[in-house]
Symmetry: C2
């Protein structure tokens, strides 16, 4: 594929280099000569150009390019002008970066294929990774059925097992509650021993030592966290 990536900040330069290592032909564009120089060994071609100027477009192989990515961040004006010029020059597919809702609205009105915000995407990703750390153990029974052990979510602490919303909301069945208890032994050495309570009383009040053992489709669990 042939790509043009405009704006070689952290986001644009990483994208352009990655696409280059995947074997594509990538033109990396930036109006800072220093940036164009910095990445010339990691991107197929780099060009120093101010893409917010109409003349700039004739220096880019737009007609042969499959996808143009506008990765300019802070300079919203330059991002919008660049996008408008690309559209005017019949770029086949434009992907644009928006740094705030107004920026996004203007790009939408110009009419481009895809608009994203790198910082928001990364935050979603990291939030989900942090959430998956709550999963202590998982065991696949089948493609559509997994047994999960998860630390009881904060929002259930102090509430009754009867309040649990997992079942209706996510199709996950509570198999029971697992707890670790310390068992004193001969010579006073404490040892952790796990117990599993299969019959969970509706009146049971969740505390921080409760581990919920759930069964259901992993896709539903992922829908719950994401």
């Amino acid at each position: 594929m042939k790509y043009i990536v405009i704006g070689l900040g952290n986001f644009g330069s990483t994208l352009a280099s990655r696409l280059t290592t995947f074997g594509h032909e990538v033109f990396g564009v930036d109006n800072s000569l220093e940036k164009a120089e910095q990445f010339k060994d990691r991107i197929t071609h780099t060009i120093c150009l101010d893409t917010s100027k109409p003349n700039a477009m004739k220096n880019l192989p737009i007609r042969d390019t499959d996808i143009v990515v506008v990765a300019i961040g802070e300079d919203v004006g330059a991002s919008i002008l660049t996008t408008a010029l690309l559209k005017q020059n019949n770029a086949r597919q434009i992907i644009g970066r928006a740094i705030n809702p107004l920026h996004r609205t203007v790009l939408e009105s110009i009419g481009i294929e895809t608009i994203f915000n790198p910082e928001e995407l990364a935050a979603e990703m990291i939030a989900k990774q942090l959430e998956m750390q709550g999963v202590l153990e998982s065991f696949d029974l089948a493609d559509d059925s997994t047994i999960l052990e998860i630390k009881v979510p904060e929002r259930y602490l102090g509430r009754n097992a009867g309040d649990l919303d997992f079942e209706e909301t996510y199709g996950l069945r509570l198999l029971g509650i697992k707890r670790f208890v310390e068992e004193k032994r001969i010579f006073g050495l404490a040892k952790k021993r796990s117990t599993f309570e299969r019959n969970v009383n509706e009146e049971h009040i969740f505390d921080t030592n409760d581990i919920l053992v759930m069964m259901g489709d992993m896709k539903n669990f992922q829908k719950m966290i994401g």
Copy 2:
């Protein structure tokens, strides 16, 4: 879980809001009052505070917090001072954002659990998504075996089938090459018809109409694209 997220830019505010919707108790911190106000309905608590000042730390519930995320971007100095103060105040787990290699090196030397760059993470993600668009069709034979039809990668164009590196590098077997040909019919109406060549000559030269039909473990293919 209890979180503190410092810096409510695009990244920090999205992370803090997401964790809040997952049911965690989140303190969102920013030295801009406008930011603290803007997100007060989306984050459990928001506090206006300059966290690069030693006094700031006593206003944060650090001892009860599981994870502190330093999401300050541009102001590298503030990010570093904040991180150092958190470390000094025995924060249990610190996750930090670095906006360039030097910033990352300093945070590493302070000694925190995880360092990331949101723009780079998002670029990796988008590069992979664009790469997966090269997959025209896929059909799962089994958990560890998928048949994939992919447009011939740019880097093979003009080269011999004998040069193909998929097999040794990725354990993907080339089953054959599929092509669409136009077939003239009665009344001159052209119709696309596909053909599949199972015996690929080592001398065959790849061109843009070739579709590679590969078989192998999807995990290996994903390793190929990154």
